[in-house]
């Protein structure tokens, strides 16, 4: 959290309403998101209790395990879930485009991809566990499960993994996305309560958000009072209707909140980088679908050393790129870097557009721009700079003194002897420059999996799911 966000929180607390900390939306929002609210049985690792899900806010599907300790009913529930989620996911596979790649074969990328929206990070974690507990199952053999369940498990695993990937929008946790765009007047801990956070953004804070009788928890954990007073007697009564109705009552308020959260995010204009990140998501999703179609084995229980290291490196790069993109897309995010002196903004007060350096063949166009700024600049001369106003432009800091910063433009002026029109800012224009740039080191030189050094466990055996995985008890 930056001081800027802290200030926004203070302001929110003082004014009784959440304050924006973004001016554009940084996540992709699907035209047809799949809202998924799972509930689990208290005290169990991954025993599903119910889920409310669907793409139509007026017609949620309710799936209930009416006897949560019954293994068969749990798998029947998973099969029902597969019956709803798989057609939704697979529906996106029909429309594709061919993508050419340098140095590799072209591949087919879907034109649009599915999007799973869960209430909170705990919902993502439970999705991962559901995936883990179903992807190794088999429709045949000693403990058969309904067709579709293992495939569901692989998709749930995939969606949960993508949720951890910075900038990916295939899986969104509502509280996280809201919290990325608004600062409430409460702590981060309390922001994990969807009702409370939405309250801050819309109607103002209310203690009702913490009253489980008014706003049941958004899952996957249920309210202990509900468990004791409503659910346990309903299960004991053996009446499936009663259990279903009880759980519907717990899920419906969250269902409404989820769509409210989606509307809130949808009202913000999309940031410039959203489309390109969604393109990556579409590529990733296409890759996963291709793996499934080729009959690849389910995702391993644990990554090998190389896979883990390269995954970590990928995530770090994605995080850095995501941070930079958000700053370039959103002046309010850039403001955090201006506050720390890694960026500055102001008005152009002087330019030397036709300035050149060098003689003869090495003669280069190097215009100078002087910017007047109120920002505390903490950049050394020679620092490479970029600017959100002209993304192709490259620049270098010459000097910064007394609120005047001189910048030399080094790139992005076209090929002629004078700068292309508009490529150099003019006097009176407001501009922003920053040392943040989106070019990062390539992937670290990690060996292939087969060459994993012995210090890291040696080459991993190729992952072949054992029978043990398929017959593992689910109790």
């Amino acid at each position: 959290m930056s001081l800027l966000t802290s200030l926004a929180r203070l302001r929110a607390l003082d004014e009784g309403v959440a304050q924006p900390i973004a001016t554009v939306r940084h996540c992709h929002l699907s035209a047809r998101p799949m809202v998924f609210i799972p509930l689990k049985l208290s005290g169990e690792a991954a025993a599903p209790l119910a889920a409310m899900l669907g793409t139509d806010r007026a017609a949620p599907h309710l799936l209930v395990v009416t006897q949560p300790r019954n293994r068969d009913l749990r798998f029947a529930w998973a099969a029902e879930l597969a019956g709803l989620l798989l057609p939704y996911i697979e529906g996106f596979l029909s429309g594709t485009e061919t993508v050419e790649r340098r140095g590799a074969d072209p591949y087919e990328r879907v034109l649009d991809a599915p999007q799973l929206v869960v209430p909170n990070p705990a919902g993502v974690a439970f999705t991962r566990l559901l995936g883990r507990s179903t992807r190794f199952r088999r429709p045949d053999g000693p403990y058969p499960v309904p067709e579709g369940v293992p495939v569901l498990g692989r998709w749930l695993t995939y969606f949960a993994e993508r949720a951890a990937y910075p900038g990916s929008s295939l899986t969104l946790a509502a509280t996280e996305e809201l919290g990325r765009h608004w600062a409430s007047g409460q702590s981060g801990l309390e922001d994990a309560n969807l009702a409370a956070l939405t309250g801050w953004i819309t109607d103002g804070p209310s203690d009702e958000a913490e009253d489980p009788l008014i706003w049941p928890p958004a899952g996957p954990a249920t309210d202990p009072g509900f468990d004791a007073e409503v659910l346990a007697p309903a299960i004991e009564s053996g009446s499936a209707e009663r259990v279903a109705e009880a759980l519907r009552g717990q899920l419906e308020p969250t269902w409404r909140l989820m769509w409210r959260a989606i509307d809130l995010l949808g009202a913000l204009p999309a940031g410039a980088g959203v489309a390109s990140r969604w393109e990556q998501d579409r590529g990733s999703f296409s890759g996963m679908a291709a793996q499934l179609a080729e009959g690849a084995p389910p995702q391993a229980r644990r990554d090998g050393a190389i896979a883990a290291a390269s995954r970590l490196a990928r995530m770090e790069r994605a995080q850095a790129a995501y941070d930079v993109q958000r700053a370039y897309d959103d002046p309010l995010v850039m403001a955090e870097h201006r506050l720390t002196g890694e960026a500055f903004a102001g008005e152009v007060v002087e330019t030397d557009a036709d300035r050149v350096e060098g003689e003869g063949r090495s003669r280069k166009l190097r215009p100078l721009v002087v910017i007047k700024t109120d920002d505390p600049v903490r950049l050394a001369p020679g620092t490479a700079l970029g600017t959100p106003q002209r993304r192709e432009q490259g620049a270098e800091l010459m000097s910064a003194r007394d609120g005047l910063v001189t910048v030399k433009i080094t790139k992005g002026m076209g090929r002629s002897k004078t700068p292309a029109p508009g490529s150099v800012p003019e006097v009176g224009e407001r501009v922003c420059y920053t040392s943040l740039t989106d070019d990062f080191k390539g992937s670290p030189g990690l060996p292939e999996a087969e060459a994993t050094p012995w210090t890291h466990g040696g080459p991993p055996p190729e992952y072949v799911p054992a029978d043990e995985d398929a017959v593992e008890e689910w109790s």
Binding site: L213, G225, F226, A228, V230, S237, E241, R242, E468
Partner: protein, 275 residues
């Protein structure tokens, strides 16, 4: 009818909220009253939805529930439970917990025992014994601790030698190994029997063979007997000592069902002396 349902649902919601509010402030009196009202409303709702008569035979909420005495149906079920437990214990040949008894009943006698049916068994047997001592050919009774009190959660058969029902420090392990051998000897084609043996075998050094495949009964017997040989001598000695003490200190009832506390031991000893 749906009007009535709507109204009931509203009432149920209101009552539930009331109960939970009351529970939050620990107002148990109000909670209990509201809960009773709630159960009534829920029953009405169930019957309206499912067309079940409002106070059918399954009604457990009313005051005329299971405490009302033993109908003929219950009596016959009790006998069945009793016999199934006897069969299972006889197969095992050692004191056992309800959980194991249920598993053995399932695996070897196709029974459908549930462990909650076993909770009051020992008490019922004791009552029956007190009413007419030795009126039955056998009783399901207690295993006795080194204080001669009933060991928690263990069932035994009255016709066994007294030492077998004694629990010294090593006895729980010895009994487990004995039971594992018995299960291995009886192993049949029922997958539930194989599962039970697998579960037991993996807790015996050298008895399991990974998690897969049916367990090899010969191997389990050998492994269990191997460990048993380590404990047998001391356990037998401990049990014999305890059995002697039980014989000299306890009256008939306490010898079968255990002395509840130290003071009971004393009283029983006196009773015995007076007899």
């Amino acid at each position: 009818m749906s009007d009535r349902l709507d109204e009931l649902e509203r009432r149920i919601d209101g009552l539930r909220a009331g109960v939970r509010k009351a529970m939050r402030v620990r107002d148990t009196v109000t909670a209990r009253a509201l809960r009773a009202e709630l159960r009534g409303a829920e029953r009405a709702w169930d019957s309206l939805v499912g067309g079940v008569p409002e106070s059918g035979p399954d009604d457990q909420g009313g005051p005329t529930g299971r405490d009302a005495g033993s109908s003929r149906g219950e009596e016959s079920r009790l006998v069945t439970v009793r016999e199934q437990v006897h069969q299972a214990l006889t197969l095992l040949g050692a004191p056992a917990q309800p959980r194991l008894i249920v598993a053995v009943g399932e695996a070897f006698f196709g029974g459908a025992l549930r462990s909650n049916q076993l909770t009051s068994l020992r008490r019922d047997e004791e009552r029956s014994f007190r009413a007419s001592p030795y009126g039955r050919p056998y009783y399901l009774c207690a295993a006795l601790t080194d204080r001669l009190s009933p060991a928690r959660g263990l069932l035994a058969v009255s016709t066994w030698p007294l030492a077998r029902r004694m629990v010294g420090p090593l006895s729980p392990r010895v009994d487990f190994l004995t039971c594992a051998i018995a299960v291995a000897r009886q192993l049949n084609d029922d997958p539930r029997a194989a599962r039970l043996l697998t579960r037991m075998a993996r807790n015996i050094p050298g008895g399991g063979q990974g998690d897969l495949g049916p367990p090899d009964p010969g191997r389990v017997i050998e492994a269990a007997a191997g460990e048993l040989a380590v404990h047998a001598e001391r356990d037998t000695r401990d049990r014999d000592t305890l059995a002697k003490r039980a014989t000299s200190q306890l009256g008939d009832t306490a010898r079968l069902f255990g002395a509840a506390t130290l003071s009971t031991v004393a009283r029983d000893t006196i009773t015995k002396g007076g007899r």
